[in-house]
Subunit: 273 residues, 2 copies
């Protein structure tokens, strides 16, 4: 790599690229699978177009909310829909802070204006939220409520954490991101390790993106099937086909993997063997 | 896209990404095929890591030689070998100038120092040159000879043009790049058009990268087989497998396609449909 680790923004872009090109990843867009409206190129274009926003996060200063909004805005102009919303939620504090402890500190000091900017970022994309939630972005009153109640971006994430594992990473200090990075180190260099880590998380953590879209029963069923793949009693590629066919895509775990690759690269993990 | 066309540097990065992910492209690394030591990730990492060098070219001023050396240096640190040397030769004047006529003007005013920088860029990679050529980069005397004879970078390209179609683009004013861009417009939006244009060029232009590696007979045989694919008398995927198996990769035409995508994007061609 250019320099031992490159800039943080570059590392974040490489992490986005490495996650999406790793394969086979059950249910998600990967090197061998597209969805009709969201293709590999959309993810890779998003990784390229995110550069300036990630550099702004790296150079600071800037609130996490506006920085996330900037990343979403820079990458929401293609027609592939939401590609990296959750990934930016994790990457922006990590890029701004440099590592997990620093990202935690930044999260603790988020403001109401960060929350407002985050809701504005939401409006640029079409991320699925829970229904009947006064803080749902589809509620036009949400920003007024944020200001009235003095809710910071961390508060908003705490509100979402029970049902959203990306939000949970914010509130709990990146435990799954840390685990993904540790697993990458344990599995060693290269893209094969990314697939192994993905399967390991998929078999042990219900993906909340699946749960919101299909319900918790399907999320847990997916987890059980991933465990069977790891145990050798279910075929990986068949499982992948089934997930793709049913639109079961573990998008939240993919976000965590992007963040985990970013952290691991910063700690010396090698993407090429 | 962010803005109608984005920055030129971004457009160049998108062109690099779109070329390599288009498939199936007989013989070249694509979404479905790697070579053992050069994988899709290497090309995509190179596209990401080229950003600063491409931005320097866009912002100017800077001689084409040092700018090319910068792009090669920024992207030669991965272990995938030469991924974009030829592409940078075409992209750097196009990014610096903005379009083909402006790139031609920049090429006409290159200097001996541009030629020296270009040879230094060569030393960073392992691009195949003709043997027994006093201007071969493997000749340690080459830079002394450049200075003695007062050869500019355009002169060096003119020297290589008979055997190198990328050099020929420099000397002749980007005729194949122009043709690739026109064909993209004619074929319409999306990655399928990139494959169609690749096949059309492959069936009508002997690839000099193949010729240097395997001889002109194989380059012309490849051209004839590509024509059969277009005529429907040869299977595309079988042809791809044969090329990959024999290490027949039309790398110079891939470089031209990258440049053609860059030009076409600047003229409004849509990479997504």
């Amino acid at each position: 790599m250019a320099g031992p680790k490159g800039s943080r923004a570059e590392r974040a872009q490489l992490a986005m690229m490495l996650e999406v090109t790793a394969f086979p990843k059950p249910g998600n867009v990967d090197r061998c699978h597209d969805y009709a409206s969201t293709r590999l190129e959309h993810f890779l274009a998003s990784a390229i177009l995110a550069r300036k926003a990630l550099e702004r996060a790296e150079k600071g200063p800037g609130g996490l909310g506006p920085l996330i909004r900037g990343a979403v805005r820079a990458t929401s102009s293609h027609r592939g829909g939401n590609t990296h919303f959750g990934a930016f939620l994790l990457l922006v504090p990590l890029v701004a802070g440099g590592d997990i402890p620093a990202a935690r500190d930044l999260i603790r000091s988020t403001t109401v204006e960060d929350a407002v900017a985050f809701y504005q970022a939401f409006a640029l994309t079409r991320v699925r939220m829970l229904d009947h939630d006064p803080l749902d972005v589809n509620n036009p009153e949400a920003i007024r409520i944020l200001r009235e109640r003095g809710l910071t971006l961390r508060d908003v994430m705490a509100h979402s954490a029970p049902n959203d594992l990306v939000a949970r990473e914010w509130v709990e200090g990146f435990p799954l991101t840390r685990r993904a990075a540790d697993l990458l180190h344990a599995h060693g260099c290269g893209r094969e390790s990314i697939v192994a880590v993905f399967l390991e998380l998929l078999s042990t953590v219900p993906d909340t993106f699946i749960a919101k879209k299909h319900g918790m029963v399907i999320a847990e069923e997916t987890m059980a099937k991933a465990a069977e793949v790891r145990a050798g009693t279910r075929d990986l590629e068949e499982f992948d086909r089934e997930c793709i066919g049913r639109g079961i895509n573990p998008g939240s775990l993919a976000d965590v993997i992007v963040a985990g690759i970013f952290v691991a690269l910063g700690e010396g993990w090698q993407w090429e063997c």
